[in-house]
């Protein structure tokens, strides 16, 4: 059985949750990710920055009704990395050649 190496950036609970949410939508606000992952704002912010550093997500900060707003979006590099991660994960599933 040939196990593929799992991307360490994605193989972490909160980062994987963020990527799974972002892969399903066009873009999401920081508050949406916080609500769905139940993470603290601090932790979420740190993990988002890690994803941004490797180019998996794009973060746009802007103002909406005079309040700061953070919009997050998965990049094509991020989509590719996520697909590779899922493929690698499949090699660990029972019954896989």
């Amino acid at each position: 059985m040939d196990f593929k190496e799992l991307d360490p950036i994605l193989h972490a609970q909160l980062r994987l949750a963020i990527m799974s949410l972002l892969i399903s939508v066009k873009e999401a606000e920081f508050t949406f990710l916080k609500e769905k992952t139940n993470a603290t704002a601090g932790n979420l912010s740190v993990q988002l920055n890690k994803l941004k550093e490797v180019g998996y997500v794009e973060i746009v900060k802007q103002f909406k009704n005079n309040y700061p707003q953070t919009i997050c979006k998965v990049t094509p590099v991020g989509i590719n990395a996520f697909e590779e991660y899922v493929k690698a994960l499949q090699t660990y599933l029972p019954g896989n050649p």
Partner: protein, 203 residues
Amino acid sequence: MQEERLSEQESLRIIESMINKAKNQFSENGHLYLLWGWVIFFCSIGQFILLHILHFSWGSLIWILTWATVVYQYIYIKRKLKQRKVKTYTDEILGMVWLAFVISVFLWAVVLGNIFENTGRDFFGFVNPVFLLLYGMPTFISGFALKFKPLWLGAIGCWVLSIVAALLPVDYQVLMLAVAMVIAWIVPGYLLRAKYKNNVSNV
């Protein structure tokens, strides 16, 4: 969520759970279906009563109400976009489909007006059957995109009514618009509202 060593099973569980959470982001509350459904229903019935029962020659002016609805809709959408926390691919595609519908309806009115002005030929008998065809298209696509059967059944109803309207005398065609609104937008609109409320209370 803490950062910790994950097993492969846990990874799969996270992916599945998050994709489901994003997928269940049902943002359609049915408000615009109900608004436009009732406005067009009211205008259709109103026009028929004013023109053919009360014999007021200005009966068609009742459709001015749709312009007020456009203004209200603009304000409503602007406010809704401000509150939106997430934009899905479905939202984006449906937004474009309805925009294409509005452009088509507008162009159809312009084209008909020009034909009448340039040729003097009265194509009034085409107005409502073609409007019914147009109503069916975005409703059908929305029904599939939202996986909401009442909408696409309503859309099929619009297309059937388009044929029925074409067989009716021009004066009675407008009543088919009212029927179409009930089956394609008003009933699905109330069902969408109920589904949305149910979805919000379960989050």
